[in-house]
Amino acid sequence: MRIAVCAPQVPFVRGGAELMADDLVRALRDRDHEAELVTMPFTWYPGTRVLDQAFLWRLVDLTESDGRPIDRVIATKFPAYCVRHPNKVAWVLHQFRQAYDYDRTELGQFSESPEDRATRRAVERLDGVALGEARRVFATSRNVADRLRRFNDIEAELLPHPPQTLDYRTAEQEGYVLSVNRLDRAKRIDLLIEAARSEPGLRVVIAGEGPDRERLERLASGLDGRVTFSGRVDDATLADLYARSLAVYYAPVDEDFGMVPYEAFLSAKPVLTTHDAGGPLEVVHDRETGLVVAPGAAPLAEACAYLGSHADEAKAWGLAGKSIAERVTWDACVDALLS
């Protein structure tokens, strides 16, 4: 089968969504399909610009390439799923959340002006059209599926995707809590740093880059080097960081999916998250595969201290998570997407 995987690209930014699209292409090729990543830069501001980007995808003709038909399109994110194709499958990792649950919160972008309100509605209407014409709609998490139902009246099938391919392994834990995430406010890495401030025995390693780094580094100053920033790390270093960690912290605000819990689990590490983290709660179960606490520095500090002093439990929870993560395979995903 000739398959175009469509995903937007924010120039100079690389995260879970980009990894997922790359891995999907690889997984399709591994199964003897001709697969190609089709991407376009995505800028969602200011104002109505977000609609221009959707329009660009709408103009792309992917029914054929070089005189041969393209059998299927798999689109992963807004606005890539606006592309037209008779055999379009949407595997929704994200809608444009500023138009939905982020609206009227500090993470939103639309003001109360009539033009902004109408732009938000246009995104909503566009999602209805674009996803409504897909032959199947999958959601990578229950959170995404619930949002599609709530806002767009679209029923999506649940299809989580496997995490990135790394040399996952488990080593003796060295007592630090690891954060792997883009450094922006919605990821709430500041809560973990505040926890380190109130828990003197807690060591934190923060992997990743992002616009919030400077603020986070300021926040971590004066903690005697107990919080270290690794920046963007290569695959081998990342696998090593996972392997040697005590636990992995992952608590964005109402995240849609997030590969980090799966990566932690494949390294047999428990995950520390919060009640309001959204998608991660589908696999991080309190005292089964990690700890789920209130979103505050004090509960997080207490949870980290507990993990540090109950290493056997932490190890057991990590192993329980591993058995969950191992059930999410590319074979199952590809079968569903092409069925």
């Binding site: 104002g47 109505t48 609609l51 221009d52 959707a54 329009f55 709408r58 103009l59 606006c82 037209r84 109360e112 002006s113 009539p114 033009e115 902004d116 309100r117 109408a118 732009t119 938000r120 509605r121 246009a122 909503e124 209407r125 566009l126 209805g128 059209v129 674009a130």
Partner: protein
């Protein structure tokens, strides 16, 4: 974003006042709303929402405001002849009435209007308003149109309305515990609620009920609602020998109405001709999960077949109605369950309020958004030598990016 909200409100005794009393709190949770009042200065707002019905006393001031400032119109019924006559002839502006008639029917309409003004023709709003709806006066001033039914949507389109249009169902009242009234009874008890007149097919209902009662002597019919001066219900009851079988009540307040409806085994809400209206009584009946019989016309035809029994308006109407009464009694629980499921699915207050908020936001800012996107598309097209951007615009419209 702020919305100026024009509607009759309680204590006004109208279905639209009840409607707004139900909708407003839910709408205010989603959008900034300021209510306009008759005789007061128009509130400052980004957009105005006008609830229009056919009663000139309740809605005349609202149409006045609409003609001063365009906005989104909620067309609660399609036929507005009575309203237009009230705000034209009733205010000694006969030329405005002639203009409205001409807008609808051209010169023939103007001549008909002159016939009415000169007392050469009967009053059209009383004798055959459905043939001359006169809704064009309102449609012309609407920047957006909210209707409750496909029937009204289609009629508005047929009349040439080309603007934005949303079909938003009538909201259902949140259901608390309702104690069925204990002071009315029948085996079975049939109920008919609302203003009683010829349009409600009361003569046909009485005739069908009289036949039905021959086999079910314990049956009783509850008629609750005021009646028109020219419609003598009591005399009709006497003639059909129904004085024992029918319980008459005048206007009943809201709480009492719910309780009476809950006591009924079957509810009947017939209509012909239809003015394109929805019926709050029908929504109440469906919410209560009571088996319901309606006429197969207008909005009523759009109700689901598994939830209501629909009676065509033809020569078999009475016979069909009699059979439907028996069927509704026999299959009351299935019909009622389907009715309740339908109301929960389609008429939930939160869904209706969401739809209103979406419509108002698009109406207020949609044109600016469309212009901004189309301008950039046109600029890009011009840069590559395309001056006719019609195809691009159509692609944008097809995908829902702009309207």
């Amino acid at each position: 974003m702020k919305v100026a909200y024009y509607s009759p409100l309680p204590p006004s005794r109208s279905g639209i006042a009840d409607y707004s009393a139900l909708l407003l709190p839910a709408l205010r949770e989603r959008i900034d709303v300021v209510t306009a009042q008759p005789g007061k200065r128009a509130p400052d707002a980004d957009i105005a929402l006008y609830h229009v019905g056919n009663d000139p006393d309740a809605h005349g001031w609202i149409v006045d405001a609409l003609l001063q400032r365009r906005g989104v119109v909620v067309l609660h019924e399609y036929v507005l002849h009575h309203l237009i006559a009230g705000i034209t002839i009733g205010r000694r502006k006969p030329r405005a009435y002639l203009d409205a008639m001409e807008r609808e029917l051209g010169v023939a309409g103007r001549l008909l209007g002159l016939g009415v003004l000169d007392n050469l023709l009967p009053l059209l709003w009383e004798t055959q308003p459905e043939r001359f709806p006169l809704s064009g006066v309102v449609l012309d001033a609407a920047d957006g149109l909210i209707v409750h039914s496909n029937y009204v949507a289609q009629r508005a389109r047929d009349a040439g309305y080309q603007g934005r249009l949303w079909r938003i169902p009538h909201p259902a009242w949140p259901m608390g515990a309702i104690e069925p009234a204990a002071d009315v009874a029948g085996d079975p008890l049939i109920g008919c609620f609302g203003f009683l007149n010829m349009n409600k097919r009361i003569p046909q209902l009485l005739e069908a009920f009289a036949s039905f009662r021959r086999n079910r002597p314990g049956a009783r019919l509850l008629l609750a609602g005021g009646s028109g001066e020219r419609f003598d219900v009591d005399r009709r009851l006497e003639r059909l020998g129904l004085t024992d079988g029918v319980v008459r009540m005048d206007y009943v307040p809201e709480e009492r109405m719910w309780s009476l409806m809950a006591a009924c085994d079957v509810l009947v809400n017939l209509r012909y001709p239809t003015m394109g209206e929805t019926s709050g009584s029908v929504i109440r009946a469906l919410s209560l999960g009571r088996p319901l019989i309606v006429s197969d016309v207008g909005w009523f035809s759009e109700l689901p077949d598994d939830a209501v029994l629909k009676i065509p308006v033809d020569e078999y109407e009475v016979a069909m109605l009699e059979a439907a009464l028996a069927l509704a009694v026999e299959h009351g629980s299935q019909l009622g369950a389907a009715a309740r499921a339908y109301v929960e699915r389609e008429h939930s207050l939160s869904k209706v309020a969401d739809a209103y908020a979406a419509a108002l936001e698009v109406a207020a800012g949609g044109d600016a958004v469309d212009d901004a996107v189309l301008l950039r598309i046109a600029e890009a097209a011009h840069d590559v030598g395309i001056d006719d951007v019609g195809a691009l615009a159509r692609a944008a419209i097809d995908s829902g990016i702009v309207r």
